[in-house]
Amino acid sequence: MSRLRLLQRDEAPLPARTIYAADGSASPLKRSLANAPDLLETLLPFLGQIYDEGAVDLATKELVVVRVSQLNACRYCLAAHRPLALECGVGPEQLAAVCDEIPLEVLAERERTIIEWADCYVLDPAGITDQLVARVLDHLRDDQLVELALLIGATQLLNHFCTAFDIPPTA
């Protein structure tokens, strides 16, 4: 049971109604965010850019999003992003690995290094070493690492939001 009102389109604030589809549907996350329409003006374009394909390909991004959501035990984001990751080209075995269902060793070196860095970024940012950054930069440019760092930040924001307010996963 959500701890926030999940607003239907006709009960949502007027400026927030644009986030609903023509049939009035919207994800539970969006329906909860509609309570604060002012923030949507900047939040949704920001999230859209962060989660869309940018300097980093979508498969890598979704792999990281699922991993971060797994570390934060976010039921909502895992339910939303596991299928999305598969659609974006993440293999079932890779997905199982970042969800701790099988060892991370099944990942290719690039993905394994990125996930190792992402784990540190989430769990122990002060513990990130120059060596780890150098290793991850063997696979990514500086700007791509920045993009992944912001992606992790945005995912943590949503993980905490959805978990703290018990936003129900979309059926």
Binding site: R5, A12, P13, L14, P15, A34, A36, P37, D38, L39
Partner: protein, 279 residues
């Protein structure tokens, strides 16, 4: 274009009113059956705007080009500093303050004396010339208190308007009510008669009319919950504020809320509120 210019254009085109409404508090000593905001003595969330906040909003409204202030609730005079706040606001812009006029002790009337020199009207609710009929809608002893308060205010030179909310009153009953306010020296121009709006507690009770999109003139309305499209927006059902007419959560600076309000107003059809007199 600045918010001030946009507001002036929107007012000129008839897209919105030039009055800023402020919900001072949702706390009330009455519990009327048609109340939009479920206001009552024991209300859990009073949603009160402080005196400082009300005055700041009025000051910023003047800077933005609003021509008038409306203050409503709840009952404004549940707030201990209401008289002084009203005087301050009315010194900034012409003001109408809605009240049930049941809390006007001699001491409070004394504190209201400065209002006589300001451009302010107290708009007092009175629904029938019959004490029984009026009190059935508005609570015990309401008529008697209003009947005492109105002459006392008028004697002190404070302008009074009467607002009648119509549900099932007959023409004859309204005619008697008009005769009563005229006997106090209140002209027909200062008597407002409007229907119950089917929102808030009235909706739960199946009372009133559902206004169409052009029945109510948009007027920026500020409450502790945010900024709304008009004063019939921030209604409450089962303790929860309706958000369907919310235009902004942010109310300070007022210019930010006004910009969001004007963005919505510019997309809406030009309306008229004369048909149903819902104000």
């Amino acid at each position: 274009m600045s918010a001030r210019d946009t507001l002036a254009t929107a007012v000129e085109e008839g897209r919105c009113g030039d009055r800023l409404w402020l919900y001072a508090t949702y706390h009330c000593n009455l519990s009327c059956g048609y109340c939009l905001t479920e206001s009552m003595p024991g209300i859990a969330n009073r949603r009160t705007l402080s005196s400082g906040m009300l005055i700041r909003l009025a000051r910023e409204a003047r800077e933005l080009g609003f021509e008038a202030i409306g203050i409503t609730g709840g009952e404004l005079f549940m707030l201990p500093d209401a008289a002084e706040t009203l005087a301050e606001i009315a010194s900034l812009l012409p003001t109408v303050a809605l009240t049930n006029a049941t809390l006007f002790t001699d001491r409070l009337l004394e504190r209201l004396a400065p209002l006589a020199d300001l451009d302010i009207a107290l708009q007092i609710s009175l629904d029938s010339d019959s004490p029984d009929r009026n009190d059935a809608l508005r609570g015990p002893e309401n008529f008697a208190r209003v009947e005492r308060a109105i002459p006392a205010l008028l004697e002190r030179g404070i302008r009074v308007r009467i607002a009648t909310t119509v549900e099932d009153q007959t023409e004859a009953e309204l005619a008697r009510l008009c005769a009563l306010h005229r006997s106090w020296g209140i002209s027909d121009d200062d008597h407002l008669v409007r229907g119950v709006v089917r929102r808030g507690r009235a909706e739960l009770a199946g009372m009133g009319i559902t206004p169409g999109p052009t029945d109510i003139l948009p007027e920026l309305t500020i409450t502790a919950d945010g900024a709304f499209l008009h004063p019939f927006g921030p209604t409450v059902r089962h303790g929860v504020t309706d958000l369907d007419l919310l235009v902004s959560r942010q109310v300070l600076p007022l210019e930010r809320a006004a910009e969001r309000f004007l963005r919505i107003v510019s997309d809406q059809p030009v309306g008229t509120d004369v048909a149903r007199n819902i104000r």
